[in-house]
Symmetry: C2
Subunit: 211 residues, 2 copies
């Protein structure tokens, strides 16, 4: 049975922490480019993408549901209605590759999870979505481990920097320039972002200012 | 033949970007705790640890060589003298696990590499260390890919957030509290660091101030 890849998405005014380097229209286009990269990866891994959008949104080739309530509320409402195994994957993971999705889907545990930087949950695969309760936001990785324990199900933590790298802040953009191969990288380059080596870690800097 | 695990280490006044939250003595003890975690992992993976220290240093159970010149200079001096396959692994990778080292060592390529956050090189495995030139500091991951190309050898990029997570800044400490299992975590806890959820990402905060 095809795995549903549930992708929460905020089309309007997303990624506010990037406001210093991108206009709202640019952030919206960038969020869409990252979504494109995630959709391409889950499709290549054989999943059915289902976009869970905070506002009405059209995405050719993928079903979209709209739920304007909070992330946890909307996920916990939709999860029990899904036909079977479900991957919840965030839309801001532009380094994702199909083979990492496959690693998640082939777990011998009941749940596989990839933590995000700072203790979030970037992707979680649920063989039985009815035996789970989404508890996102600060520290969700540790909270989800507890939820699994509560339901008495096994968890495998998947060790992937590509799925660990969620993009929220300016400092995250360099990762896309270094390791990205998709539309997100292409979009950053079109905006004039380039790598600038400094202080041991490389930063992304924008040559051409946003208008 | 046993793989040499070459671990560059700076015992005196290391990790200066942590000066805001740790005294020099604490940073030195913390750097040692991280080194302990790395040595334990490479030993468990069957490697022979060889510490390349910037100043004279005694580490029970591991050979130590001293070279006060720069990182690249000291690595490029020692690499051609080593007996065979060599892993260069940084000492500030407290999330490392033996199974990731094994993944690196079992590559079918000539070189396997794990990028650090911001484009560094956290670990690199060289089947033939004579056919390599270390080029660390800003952007070394991309530079090392070019070095491999120059030498005409194949490279596998290993996707691991545990080895991707090098510890330089305050923001990195939370990763140890969340995912660490070794001496580094133990040491941070002994200093009074604890997780504090804020702004979507979890931060490490120190309850008890350094004296």
């Amino acid at each position: 049975m095809t795995v549903t890849a549930l992708i929460p998405f905020k089309p309007v005014n997303p990624k506010s922490r990037l406001s210093g380097v991108m206009s709202q229209a640019e952030r919206e286009a960038f969020a869409r480019a990252m979504l494109d990269d995630v959709v391409a990866a889950v499709l290549a891994a054989g999943c059915r993408p289902l976009i869970l959008s905070t506002t009405p949104y059209r995405y050719p080739g993928a079903e979209t549901r709209v739920d304007g309530s909070g992330l946890n509320e909307s996920l916990n409402a939709i999860l029990p209605t899904l036909p079977g195994a479900t991957l919840i994957i965030m839309s801001d993971l532009p380094l994702v590759r199909p083979e990492i999705i496959t690693r998640m889907l082939t777990t011998s545990a009941t749940i596989s999870i990839v933590p995000g930087r700072g203790g979030g949950t970037n992707a979680i695969y649920l063989k039985n979505p009815a035996r789970f309760r989404a508890d996102y936001y600060a520290g969700s990785f540790l909270k989800h481990l507890k939820v699994a324990e509560e339901f008495g199900v096994t968890v495998e933590v998947i060790d992937s920097f590509r799925l660990h790298t969620d993009v929220d802040e300016e400092g995250d953009l360099a990762e896309i320039l270094i390791h990205g191969r998709g539309k997100s990288r292409e979009y950053l380059v079109s905006l004039g972002f380039a790598l600038d080596a400094e202080c041991g870690r490389v930063k992304a800097e924008r040559g051409r200012k946003s208008t």
